[in-house]
């Protein structure tokens, strides 16, 4: 039986699967939605984002135990793109852009939580639900490094997505 060459690389190792399945269930099980406000998408998204925030806040602590201090903000963002992303999604961010004024755009061309769902415009309406948790993770990680930020995500075609990080300056 000849297999297409990419066939073996797409399978998730079993140790990462529980997280993936748990994440999917968090979104679709309705556990996060209170009974009387069923279907309120914003409530779901903010709960997912908060779960992500706490996760990221704690996770960065664990990941930094062997790391040196960061030079500056860009250095911190680079850490998020490389080691942090590898720790969660086993790959690096594919593209990082910045305007050097506190706005960073992180692009992942094959975001893991979307890669099994669609490669076209199908199911695009479900996209935001799959990104809220990760937005929270980034915000939480930065927050524990003393950087307060707003993180939003966008999808044009699955499984490519972009995370926009806007650093909040103390005025």
């Amino acid at each position: 039986m000849a297999l297409p060459p990419q066939a073996t690389s797409i399978t998730t190792p079993p140790d990462e699967l529980p997280l993936e399945l748990l994440h999917g269930e968090l979104i679709f099980s309705g556990v996060l939605l209170s009974k009387d406000k069923e279907g309120d998408i914003n409530e779901l998204l903010s709960k997912l984002e908060f779960i992500g925030f706490s996760t990221g806040y704690r996770l960065i602590e664990r990941l930094l135990k062997d790391s040196t201090r960061f030079k500056d903000e860009l250095d911190t963002i680079k850490f998020i793109c490389k080691d942090f992303w590898v720790a969660i999604y086993k790959k690096q961010i594919d593209n990082l852009r910045t305007n050097h004024q506190g706005t960073y755009v992180l692009q992942d061309n094959c975001f893991k939580l979307l890669s099994k769902i669609s490669a076209t415009k199908q199911y695009l309406e479900h996209g935001p639900k799959f990104l809220a948790f990760t937005c929270g993770i980034i915000r939480g990680a930065l927050s524990n490094l003393g950087i307060s930020s707003v993180v939003v995500a966008e999808i044009s075609t699955m499984p490519t997505c972009r995370f926009h990080i806007t650093i909040q300056r103390a005025t």
Partner: protein, 147 residues
């Protein structure tokens, strides 16, 4: 030698038709897919229990096939009861391995790991259909077809 994959049915444990894929079906069915799925499942269900009852040995394999003078129907069942049924022509070798790979590489990856796909319902994911098509077309049985 001409080898062909005609079509593929996927049933869940309860006999619901989860997917139907078609590649070289020369004679169009006379009924709708849902009706046809029920007919195919009913036949397989009976055939399977028939095989178990009359078998002179313990059946350890979760697959079987039957052949007519024109085509061969191959059946493979996962331990969880997902049933894969593929019609091929007579000269094709056993497609049991292909069916297992479809289960592992396509069904598990793009249905089980896709929270948007509810379990036990017809699969509407385009990504699933696309990956399945790629896998079938890259298999030896399909590629050695001389049309």
């Amino acid at each position: 030698m001409v080898m062909t994959i005609h079509n593929l049915y996927i049933f869940d444990r309860n006999g619901t038709l989860m997917f139907y894929g078609e590649w070289n079906r020369k004679k169009a069915g006379t009924m709708n897919k849902e009706e046809e799925g029920k007919l195919v499942y009913g036949m397989l269900f009976s055939l399977r229990s028939f095989l178990e009852k009359i078998s002179p040995l313990d059946l350890t394999d979760n697959s079987f096939c039957y052949r007519t003078s024109k085509y061969k129907m191959n059946y493979w069942e996962s331990p969880t009861g997902v049933k894969f049924v593929m019609n091929t022509d007579l000269s094709s070798p056993n497609v049991k391995d292909l069916l297992r790979v479809i289960y592992q590489m396509v069904y598990v990856e793009y249905v089980v790991k896709n929270p948007v796909c509810p379990m036990g319902e017809y699969i509407h994911s385009e990504l699933f259909a696309q990956k399945l098509d790629e896998l079938v077309k890259s298999s030896l049985i399909y590629t050695s077809k001389t049309s």
